[in-house]
Every structure is written in C-alpha cells, then in structure tokens.
Symmetry: C2
C-alpha cells in the first residue's frame, strides 16, 4: 500500500523482499531480493535509494547502526527503532518521560521451575492480581509473543518456552482500546489523525472504528498523547500508538514505527492516507492534511476462510456490497491469514460498521468469536 501511494506521487520505490513473489514486489519499481537481517542485503538496498524505511519490526539494530554510521539515510532512526523493536525498552523510555503505561516489570525468560522468571511472575501476580500478561520483549506481532495467563499454573507451563527478556504486565481492565496515528518529519513537524477505537481478538486486530464509541474529549487527549510519544521517540515517518482507555486514564500499550492496521481507514477516510504521509515524512516533504472526510469510518480486516472457497466468487460477493472499499494484499488465501481489509465511510456509525462486516464476511472472513457483531447485521445470502 505504501508502494501504491509512492506510485501516485511519481516516486520510485525499491523493495527489499525475501522473494520476488512477495506481494509488494508487484507494485515496486525495483526489487532487491534479500533479508533486512543481512547487512549485505541492506547495503544493496541502500545503494539504490535515497531513504530506507521499514514496514515491519524485523530490524537488526546493529546493521542499522552500521549503515547510519556510513551516512545511509534510514528513517525512522535508531532511537525510534529501538523502542519499536524492544517492548521493554519502549516501556522504560515512556516511564522515564512520565507517560502512563500498564504496571509492569521485566525478567529474563527461561530457567524452569522455581527459577527467577517463575518467581518474578508469582511476585508480580501477587502484587497486581491475576490474570497477568507475559510478552517477549522482541519479535511479537499480531498476538504472537503475547500470553495472557490466568494464574501461576498457566505461567509455569510456558516459562520454559520464553527466551530473552520477558515483559510481565498487569492485565488492564480497559473500557476501550484506541490507536492514534502520528506522522512526524525530521524537523519535528507533527500531524495526527483522529484517534480510533480498535477491537482485537486474541491479540489480532479485527476492526477499527473512527471515532467508535470515543467521546471527542478522549479523541483529543489521545492525539495529544500520541504526539508526545512521537516526540519522545524522535519518530520520523508514521508512528502508531496503541492505547488503553481504562477508568478515565489513557495509557500506552504498544507502538509501531510504521503504517499500521489502525491507520488503514485513512486511505479513504482522511484527506491524506497514512501511507502517503509516511513517504512524505521520511522524504522530509510537507505533510498532508489528516482531516477526516466522513463522520464515521469502519474498517474490518479480511481473513482467510476455509480451504476450497473460490477467490473470484468471494471477490464478486465482496464487491457487491455497496459502498465497501475492498483492499486485498495479493497474498495466497490460507485459513486465518490476514488477507486484506474493507473500509466503509458514511454518516452513521452502525450503518458503516454493518456494511464493512458484510463485505468482510462475504470475502470469506470467518465470523469472529469473542467480538460482538453489530446488532441486526444482515449478511448477504450465501454467507455462512
């Protein structure tokens, strides 16, 4: 989607991809086959471009540091990437800056029964109450690397599989989950899109609503907080700040230093999309307006359904849903794999949400368990 935005601005986008079959390669001007974790591949990319940026957290900070030392322009820079790559570091920096975050501690994973990790889980659970959340500081994504555990028995069962630093956190009894997208230039010029309400199931984002159930006052506070975090992180490009809203307090849960699922709604819902502003920011070009274009926007993710469904027939059904903007990522459909998203804009919250869900379900998305669907959702015929 960043490459689509780059194409619209007449930019030439080179992609470093593991395989020329990666979906991004189809819309890139140039492809470098390789891995961001291999210095030679990163240098091959650097030779071809003015600026390197990331759309994931598979970042080797040592390689980034070496390239930066040699004058390669990488945006965001090391300070931001360290926070995005390492959740324990992110928490520490935010606490130092006085930003509210969930109660937490860190411990080195492993060690088996009775080891320091297990003892730390027990002590933390006893102090803050169960359940607690265990997260690997590095490498998590879309619910991977995150384990909510109800009691000490569950914590003990997984302690052996946890390597590296483990973040031990209180389970926040949130009233809502929010995300605020921020774009920031090297000069510090910063813009934010209106905060969204997000809904996750099993740590995987299922839908994003703008503004959702959020009162304007909370949307405004989230924007201020997002802007603060972007400054603390010295972000350049787009920064996603995921928040809990709990008992009148906003606290930072996660950050991502790239365009993010929580910002896909901006493609049709705002004057400038997160992808365009990410490219503008990392190229140090003026940022575009983040003003919303509609009173209500709903964004629902599309996941692979059961095997054997005909993708053309699914597309036909999804496109038959009037007003639904369908985005598919060109990935091979597998059950449970995130394949795309649907955005619907309009004046009325329940209407846009229903429409987006109708299209996502028509596209084969399994009905989510643990997420309350809109009241009265009328599924197109033929959808289970």
């Amino acid at each position: 989607m960043a490459a689509e935005a780059g194409s619209a601005l007449g930019l030439s986008v080179a992609v470093l991809a593991e395989s020329p079959d990666d979906a991004a390669c189809a819309v890139a001007s140039e492809v470098v086959v390789g891995s961001p974790l291999h210095e030679d591949d990163m240098r091959a990319l650097a030779d071809r471009v003015d600026v390197i940026t990331f759309d994931h957290e598979q970042v080797d900070l040592a390689i980034v540091g070496a390239l930066l030392d040699d004058g390669v322009v990488i945006r965001p820079g090391l300070q931001t990437l360290e926070m995005a790559v390492d959740k324990a570091h992110m928490r520490a920096v935010l606490v130092e800056a006085g930003i509210p975050v969930p109660a937490h501690t860190t411990v080195e994973g492993g060690g088996g029964a009775g080891g320091p990790a297990e003892k730390a889980f027990a002590a933390f659970g006893d102090e803050h109450g169960w359940p607690i959340v265990l997260k690997t500081a590095r490498g998590g994504y879309d619910g991977r690397g995150v384990w909510p555990v109800d009691d000490m028995a569950e914590a003990a069962a997984i302690v052996g599989s946890l390597g590296g630093t483990v973040l031990v956190e209180a389970m926040v009894p949130f009233d809502a989950e929010l995300a605020v997208m921020v774009a920031r230039r090297p000069s510090g010029e910063t813009v934010t899109w209106p905060a969204t309400e997000t809904a996750q199931v099993g740590g995987v984002c299922r839908e994003v609503l703008v503004p959702g159930r959020l009162p304007p006052e909370v949307v405004g506070r989230a924007g201020v907080l997002g802007r603060q975090v972007a400054g603390i992180a010295d972000a350049v490009g787009v920064l996603a700040v995921e928040l809990f809203w709990s008992d009148g307090v906003l606290m930072v849960n996660e950050i991502a230093a790239r365009p993010h699922n929580s910002g896909h709604w901006t493609m049709e819902g705002a004057v400038t999309s997160q992808f365009e502003n990410h490219l503008r920011a990392v190229l140090d070009l003026p940022l575009g307006s983040t003003a919303p274009q509609h009173a209500q926007v709903a964004n629902v993710n599309v996941f692979g359904g059961p095997e054997g469904t005909d993708p053309v027939e699914l597309l036909r059904r999804g496109l038959a849903v009037e007003g639904a903007h369908v985005h598919l990522y060109g990935k091979e459909a597998r059950p449970g794999r995130k394949l795309g998203h649907v955005t619907v804009c309009g004046d009325e919250a329940e209407g846009v949400r229903e429409c987006a869900w109708a299209a996502a379900l028509s596209l084969g998305t399994p009905r989510p368990v643990g997420l309350s669907l809109p009241v009265g959702l009328d599924l197109p015929s033929g959808v289970a």
Copy 2:
C-alpha cells in the same frame, strides 16, 4: 493508475509496454515488452492474462478481431473499439442512433489544390460558416490530429498533409464543454459518475470541474446521454463521452473507451474511481458506487515547465498546498508534457479551483494562455 487500483483489489496486472522503463511497468505485476500493433506481442500478452483491455487508442482492429476469433477475451470489444479508433465511424453510428453531434461530413484527405478534399472544405464552410474544424478520423490525441481553420486559405494550406479520412466539422459555439464517465459491464449493467465541466486549451485538457458551472438539470441530461452512448457502443469498461453544451443542446464531441482525464477526479472525489470500476467492469465484477463524496471537486493537469526546474523542489512546493491531492505519472519532465494532475475536494467551487491551480502551478505547470484563471488566485511565493 489502473495498476494502482488493480493492486488494491489484489489483482495481478500485466502490462504490454514499448519499454520496461514505461511508468506503468513500475506498478505492474508483470511486463510484456512489445507493441499493441504487433500480433505476436498481443498474443504474448493474451497468454498471460484472463482479460485484455486498453488505456489508449493505439489499437489494430484486425489484430483484435483475430484474437477475439481465437477466444481471447478483449474488453471493450470490436464494436466499441471501432468507434473509439475511428471518429468518422463514431459519428456515423451516433447519427444513425439519433444522438446529436456537430454538423459534419467526411472526405478523403490529400489531393492538393482543387482536389476533392479542398472542394469539400469549401462547400462545408460555405454551408455551415467559418471557422470549421478538420480532424483526422484516426490517430488524434490531446489536440493532435485536430485543426481549427478560420478560412479557406488556412484549410488549403494543410490539405496536403492530411492523409486518410478527414472529418470536416462545424465549429460549435459551445457554452460549456462537458464530459460524462460511464462504466458498463458485459451484462449491460451501467453506472455513470456526475458530469463534469472541462476546459481545453488548444485541444489539451487543462482542468475538470465537478460540477463546474453546470446546473443539475444539465448534469442529469448528460448522464442519460452518456448511458445511451455506452449502450449504442456496446461498451464494456469505462467510456468517456465528451460533450458540447450549446444553446441548450447537448451533443457528443468525442468518445474514449478507457479511463480518461475527465474522470481522474473520481480517485478522491467519488466512492469508486474510474480505474477501479474499469477493472471491475472488464472482469465482469459488480460495479462500485459512483456517488460523489464532495460538493465540489477541481482537477487541474500538471505540465512540464521550463527545463532545469528541480523536480524535488517542485514536489515540495506542490505538497505544501494544503488539501491538494498530487498525482505524478513518473514521466520525465519535458516542457509542455503532461506529467500528472492535482485534485482538490471541498464545499466551495472557487476555493477548490484556486487550491488545485495553486498546486499545479507550484509543480511547474506553465500558466495557461487562453484560459481565465480563477479570480484572486494567490500563487505561492516563488511561483512565476
């Protein structure tokens, strides 16, 4: 831009291009290097895709016919392409169907002084009044192949350079030029976007305004006429119908059987863009809503300015114009070459037009001669 829309839908787009450096190749999944005028190249493309469509009129009807006979799916088909490729044929078909068109006749070009072409020009000018317009029936584009001539002396001066069939037309004293974009599926299902007012200088489109100065009644009539023409042409995909509005009458000037400059505004201005609906239509998928998203949309084309202007500096200036959606086509800048367009959406006609012109001029577009700029247009500093 069609490839960007295809990417969003997860479609794989193969491009037949004269050179791998063509801008479209950068966003295509696959590139076949060759010419649409060579049967082998067209067959190489046909081997790779489910459907072939065109984004220009460089179409060899005999090759298209041969491929269709062999079962290749080409949309739109021969009946539409014949009208799009040959203006004399288009006029004849529309007259037969009772659609208003400018007074015209046809004659074979060439023949020199006193030949049949010169005699036909004189007879036509005497009957319908001077000036008249001479058009080559085939091969014109963006003002090329069109000569407005004031009198017999001017007509005589160019008669020797006119080969093939020449369309001789009355110069219509229009009150406005309009365009209506239509999308039509193989089944005949048809949608139209609201008609636009267009402004040409020297046959080259400079700006498109939605709805411009057009009263709703005329917008409605233009939509009906566009839909009729699409049916007569048996169009599949997007059809652009360019109209004159003259003394209360709407008449068809040109048609194009593809996404068209007059429809670029739909990318941000309508729920579904002309590019997405073109792909949906040629793939026989449900068409998207053509509802406008804003009360007013202005679209201004970007042309190459004097040599030596720094494209990055120009982009910086263009993006600094708040609210301007900049589209650049990845073409090398040359003076007078169409390089992109700017779209601005809003509530107020003069405001969106001013903003779009400000961005286009900032991007290096020479100030047009023969087109009245908006009153009070305030150019950003540094723009000549």
